[in-house]
């Protein structure tokens, strides 16, 4: 069996060291000017430092350039990509076709991973972007297990699936928190809470809590539950999904380290024998449940839930 790559989103260079210890194979980093909803901010110097370290450990590093770009930021893409190429990162993660254009025009030789989040819903699109330079497609989190497996069976590119953590449900360009405070005449709050990441919306009808924050890219709202597939990995492993992502946004460093260790163990056990995985999966789930923040219930996302339309 081919082991999937275990991809994590670190908060800092220090965090990367611990995550390598914990068994991560690859890292997604970047900064909000170019990438969306990152666990930590890494400027070019930090990317340089992190890349050296990650490569030294024989691991991979990908840089997020998956923001929805307006004209002003398009002007800066080429030089940023050039720098990333010099640093030698292993791939750029994109959603906006502007990145494909710039790669074409400049010939910058970095592989691309296609990740437009919600809209990556079928294998045709995965292959379409494959023909345009993508080596990997990152699937929407709103797909079912069957859909994911069918995509993998038909894909000519690598397939990445998120197996753990929260997912984004909504991105608006408008600063919605700021607007709410302004409407209520609380100008102080606009400033005070600009960078805060501790807010949530309470949906009384469903009794759900949706984390919400603002940054350069607008307002982001997240799922009320954290996906956790630790005890349901069999089908994904059997299908040889190429990469499993643990999303660390809005989680603590320690939490992400502990979760990474669990998935490392699960993947390694399964590679040994499916039985070895079955023997430990309940235990691994219990470990995660133990450290799970009390406001964040675990679930299995859309893997086993059908949506209608």
């Amino acid at each position: 069996m081919k082991k999937p790559e275990l991809l994590v989103t670190p908060k800092s260079v220090e965090h990367i060291r611990a995550l390598i210890q914990a068994g991560a194979d690859a890292f997604l980093i970047g900064e909000q000017q170019f990438g969306l909803r990152l666990a930590g901010e890494f400027n070019i110097e930090q990317i340089t430092e992190a890349t050296k370290f990650i490569h030294h450990s024989g691991k991979k590093v990908y840089v997020a350039m998956n923001a929805i770009y307006h004209n002003d930021r398009v002007d800066r893409l080429a030089s940023y990509m050039q720098k990333l190429s010099e640093i030698g990162v292993d791939a750029i993660v994109f959603g906006d076709p502007a990145v494909v254009m710039i790669k074409r025009e400049t010939g910058i030789p970095i592989p691309l991973h296609w990740n437009p989040e919600t809209i990556a819903t079928n294998w045709f699109q995965a292959n379409y972007w494959g023909k345009r330079g993508a080596t990997r497609a990152v699937l929407a989190r709103e797909l079912s297990m069957d859909e994911i497996i069918e995509i993998k069976e038909n894909a000519e590119v690598e397939i990445q699936v998120q197996v753990h953590g929260m997912t984004c449900m909504f991105q608006s360009k408008r600063p919605l928190l700021g607007h709410y405070f302004m409407y209520e005449g609380k100008a102080m709050e606009v400033e005070n809470r600009k960078h805060a990441r501790n807010m949530y919306l309470h949906d009384k009808e469903r009794n759900s809590k949706y984390p919400i924050y603002e940054d350069l890219n607008g307002t982001h709202i997240f799922s009320p539950n954290d996906v956790c597939m630790i005890d349901e990995l069999e089908e994904l492993l059997e299908a040889e999904i190429d990469a499993f992502k643990i999303e660390g946004v809005l989680q603590s460093e320690d939490y992400v380290i502990a979760v990474t260790k669990c998935y490392r163990q699960a993947i390694d056990a399964y590679a040994e024998s499916p039985d070895a995985y079955f023997d430990i999966k309940e235990e691994l789930l219990a470990k995660i449940e133990e450290i799970q923040p009390k406001l964040r219930p675990l679930d299995t996302g859309f893997f086993f839930k059908e949506t209608v339309y």
């Binding site: 906006d96 919600t118 408008r174 409407y183 501790n198 949530y200 919400i212 949506t307």
Partner: protein, 424 residues
Amino acid sequence: MTLLQNDHISEIHDGKRVIVKKPELLAPAGNLEKLKIAVHYGADAVFIGGQEFGLRSNAGNFSIEEIHEGVKFARKYGARIYVTTNIFAHNENMTGLEAYLRALENAGAAGIIVADPLIIEACKQVAPKLEIHLSTQQSLTNWKAVQYWKEEGLHRVVLARETSAEEIKRMKENVDIEIESFIHGALCIAYSGRCVLSNHMTARDSNRGGCCQSCRWDYDLYAVEDGESKPLFEEGNEAFAMSPKDLKLIESIPKIIELGIDSLKVEGRMKSIHYIATVVSVYRKVIDAYCADPDHFKIKQEWLEELDKCANRETASAYFEGAPGYEQQMFGEHGKQTKYDFVGMVLEYDEETKMVTLQQRNYFKPGDEVEFFGPEIENFTVVIDEVWDEDGESLDAARHPLQIVRFKCGHKLYPHNMMRKEMR
């Protein structure tokens, strides 16, 4: 305003500047009746939903036969029909696509509005006569991405609602492709295609037409401090809300035309024929007046008032005139009633007897003051005198939907003119 390099927008005729690049006015229609009204009231093109591959599963959708009939009707006016096929397909939606696209082509649709490259590529292969327009679901926000879609052979791109006039200008300067932009109607507050609130809250897939506007519900905002949830609202505060005011760019039409935007889109396939007729006829007048004499153009108060007669939410300019502030959202209110009811549609008018034959659409009675409007007439108001049914029986009120009634009216009327009544 300076003219753009690559687009020839105006010329001087007999010492007077006129607009030679008149944009298309593009209207929505949820069924054949609405399509016909949109065209009759002055739309240059109409977008409709077919029965497959489109968002808005509940918007009322056209069968292939109905599309064909709509196309035939539109052609008489020189108008075009586009069909939205803008879902992001899941594997299960991939079958039947080619046959469907061929059927649209055969039915005479001028183009399709698409988001998923799966449908784009299939269309190029099997239905090459259809124009391909990129849907706003792709949230297209920069000129480089516009260039990408140009190179992919698309005819037109519909921009994200988050693009400003300045941004569109640069797209136009850099890429030779048709640009379609929203001028009127409801908005997503999220980047289109990037909202799955409904998937989570109601297990309905918003990118396949299942959106239930969860963004317009009320929420309470909290912060977690020291492990405790602390409310960020007090007694008397409104709930946290994300509801945007509807888009209305009537006063920006001159700027939009000078930018060389090719198609001006009105949103709302679920809207009534009264809404479509009102909105289309007002924008028709504004566009025509500006193009005929741009240098002496002034927006008329009566146009603004007319447009308001079908509004049921507050309106704003969203991103076109720069980033919208909090005043462009609604807190603690959820729309209002329209000021006018659509009460009847003219079927016939007999100039000799001054008798109107009208199809009732809402309750009215003798003594009511009503207003007539339509593409052939200037709006006017009359008080209804005696009303008869088809058999000549005098009525105390027109109570029944679609009932045929008659009454006298001194002003000349035309079929499809509409009658509305102010609500009190």
